[in-house]
């Protein structure tokens, strides 16, 4: 018993071919959308790569771009194939290509599922979080060394400004790091000497944050320094309330994690929907293929022909294929040949 058995008339076949041409062109467009998503994710990863200790998500844009390009190419050929298949004579040219084409399309849809699964798995595993944690800690420690790492200070400032975040988890993280370089510290000042002496590692720690932690939406001038004791400069008198200090409230680890997770969610949703759509298109092409092959066997171009997804049921086809695979390894058996003496 065939799987998905239908009978298609001449006009049915024409309509099916036309619909499939349109669907293939739509698939080309969705493939291009996937390529664009992959390029966007790649660009966003490159933009903030200094604050991630390792590139955890490198596989996702690669898989997405290659499957997107593959989808565009495969669906372009599919559109041409379906255009020719509606006509009996032109179908004979493409007869041998159609079966491999269906196989390649199925592989492609598997690639799309892989992209969706990868993005979800990598996003929700802890690896992204760990990379951000390690990267941000290292970046904050190296913030002051703008002579050794020239671009790092600028990059971290830009991260805090664009992502509206301050420090790793909260602004107090900056109190535990010396972020003012020794080149700009006046060691002859008593205040500075006291600070350095009171610290075990000889670091100059202060209760102040860089300017990039400031929130433009707060109604008062940003108090960068003296955040623990009294907010300086000396002329400001502010209410000490951690919510309304005029600095960004959240940490950069959370902000970046949310940003990347949002992109990965969009990617997985699009990949799954494109996969479902491609499956539909491949099913239609399979029906068209089988109906045209049966038509060739019948001989009359205008008659009805049968179409199916699989000629036998699923189990029968699986058993048949397994038998072929088993006999591949075996050589010629001369047992039943009458010309050979046993």
């Amino acid at each position: 018993m065939a799987l998905g058995h239908v009978v298609l008339s001449h006009s049915d076949r024409r309509v099916l071919a036309r619909v499939l041409v349109v669907l293939n062109w739509v698939s080309v467009a969705t493939g291009a959308v996937l390529v664009l998503l992959g390029v966007y994710l790649w660009a966003e990863l490159r933009r903030w790569e200094e604050v991630m200790s390792e590139d955890v998500l490198w596989a996702v844009p690669v898989v997405l771009i290659w499957t997107g390009l593959g989808a565009c190419v495969v669906n372009l050929t599919g559109a041409q194939l379906c255009l020719d298949c509606s006509d009996h004579n032109r179908f004979l040219r493409w007869k041998l290509v159609l079966a491999p084409y269906v196989g390649v399309s199925l592989l492609l849809t598997a690639g799309l599922l892989l992209a969706a699964a990868l993005s979800l798995a990598l996003g929700f595993s802890g690896r992204l979080d760990e990379a951000l944690e390690a990267g941000l800690s290292a970046a904050m420690r190296r913030y002051k060394d703008s002579d050794l790492n020239p671009g790092l200070k600028t990059k971290l400032d830009l991260v805090q400004i664009h992502m509206s975040c301050c420090g790793k988890d909260r602004y107090q993280d900056w109190f535990r790091v010396q972020w003012v370089s020794d080149r700009y510290l006046d060691r002859t000042q008593a205040r500075v000497q006291d600070q350095i002496r009171s610290n075990v590692a000889g670091l100059y720690l202060s209760d102040s944050v860089p300017f990039s932690c400031c929130d433009p939406a707060s109604p008062w001038p940003c108090p960068q320094t003296g955040l623990k004791s009294r907010p300086a400069p000396h002329f400001l008198s502010l209410v000490q309330s951690s919510r309304s200090l005029g600095l960004w409230g959240r940490g950069c680890r959370e902000a970046l994690r949310r940003h990347y997770l949002w992109i990965l969610n969009v990617i997985s949703v699009s990949a799954v929907s494109v996969w479902a759509f491609e499956l539909l298109v491949v099913t239609g092409v399979r029906y068209l293929q089988t109906s045209m092959e049966n038509l060739v066997l019948l001989g009359d171009p205008a008659s009805d022909s049968e179409a199916w997804i699989l000629e036998d049921s699923l189990c029968e086809t699986a058993r048949h294929n397994l038998r072929i695979i088993k006999s591949l390894g075996k050589c010629y058996h001369g047992n039943n040949d009458p010309n050979i003496d046993q």
């Binding site: 080149r183 400031c214 939406a217 000396h234 002329f235």
Partner: protein, 358 residues
């Protein structure tokens, strides 16, 4: 005849087909001009808070108008092409074509005006920005006054996005009290001194808001006591370049908008070229088809031209026709019966000379 060319039947067909494609290309160009106008208008509206007047909006407004009008005009041109080879359908377009040429020429003139205006209005834009930014800086501290409470955020975000500080440079912040009195510590000696030493009782200081800070500086940002070399270690304000943004916001915004309008210049010029070629080709098609229709055999060769008489004669004809129409409107008491018929005859002759086949 001005610039006459011979057109065989086949050449007329080719001209009609080519012109049909060209007029659809011109419709696309009209859509492009419209989108350009929309983009420019949105960009100007985004920064409307730091602009004092809206004179510069005339540029995107004209672009919007011209875009829509040119889409309609060129669509009509494509319909005329489709009908031009059909003898029964072409005559109904005859009356419309004169108006069409006038409208198309007007659109080209408007596009040229836009290019000229985008250069000419630069001074007015700078003036408008100067006043708008000055007000923004003055009202920076008024975050509790209704109507001005978002000035601080607007100016901060503007300075960060365009990498600029103050109106002309960062010293503009020294002349304004940008720290609200609500947040001043009036028990501090320094605050009392500063307020007393100022005539208007304002609290001025040599400091800038955080949005002036340049992230590319290797040194943590110095915001206060900027003119005091002793206040900071290893600091000389005369030679320090990277600490704050050195550009003024007026210069930054003017450069940005001029850059936008200049980069659209080549696009607008090529649209003008396409529109002019549509006008010229349609004139040739019109005269060639009318010449063919007037002759005994419509399949014959005909002559297409731009103007029937030379440039000077056509101008003289137009002038006399305009004068006659003015005289006709004026009541002339000297010859009340003879003049209306004489004028009407002259006007008819002039009209006939412009459109030879009727």
């Amino acid at each position: 005849m001005l610039l006459k060319m011979k057109f065989s039947q086949q050449r007329r067909v080719r001209l009609a087909q080519g012109l049909w494609l060209l007029s659809w290309a011109a419709v696309m160009c009209g859509a492009f001009i419209f989108c350009l106008g929309v983009y420019l208008k949105i960009e100007l509206l985004c920064r409307a808070e730091v602009m004092e007047n809206t004179e510069i909006h005339v540029v995107p407004n004209i672009l919007l108008l011209v875009g829509l009008a040119s889409m309609g005009t060129n669509w009509i041109a494509s319909r005329v092409c489709q009908d031009s080879l059909d003898m029964s359908r072409f005559p109904r377009w005859k009356v419309l074509l004169l108006a069409w040429f006038a409208v198309a020429a007007l659109l080209c003139c408007l596009l040229v005006t836009v290019v000229v205006l985008s250069y000419a209005l630069q001074g007015r834009l700078e003036e408008s920005l100067k006043i708008g930014l000055r007000n923004g800086i003055r009202f920076y501290k008024d975050t509790d006054v209704p109507g001005r409470c978002f000035q601080k955020e607007t100016i901060d975000r503007l300075q960060m996005e365009f990498r600029c500080c103050g109106n002309n440079n960062y010293k503009d912040w020294f002349e304004v009290q940008w720290v609200s009195s609500r947040y001043l510590d009036f028990t501090s000696k320094d605050v009392k001194d500063r307020i007393r030493s100022n005539v208007d009782g304002r609290f001025l200081l040599d400091g800038v808001p955080f949005s002036c800070c340049n992230p590319a500086s290797p040194r943590p940002c110095l915001r206060y006591q900027l003119t005091d070399n002793q206040a900071h270690y290893n600091y000389e304000y005369q030679t320090e370049e990277l600490n704050l943004y050195s550009r003024g916001c007026r210069q930054a915004l003017t450069d940005y908008y001029m850059g936008l309008m200049n980069s659209t210049g080549p696009g607008v010029l090529s649209v003008i070229l396409i529109q002019v070629s549509v006008i010229v080709s349609l004139r040739y098609l019109q005269t060639a088809v009318e010449g063919a229709m007037a002759s005994e055999n419509p399949e014959d060769e005909s002559v297409g031209y731009l103007l029937e008489k030379g440039l000077k004669e056509t101008f003289e004809d137009l002038k006399s026709m305009a004068l006659n129409m003015l005289k006709y409107a004026q009541v002339d008491p000297a010859t009340p019966e003879a003049s209306p018929e004489a004028e009407a005859e002259k006007a008819d002759n002039a009209a006939v000379s412009l459109t030879p086949a009727s």
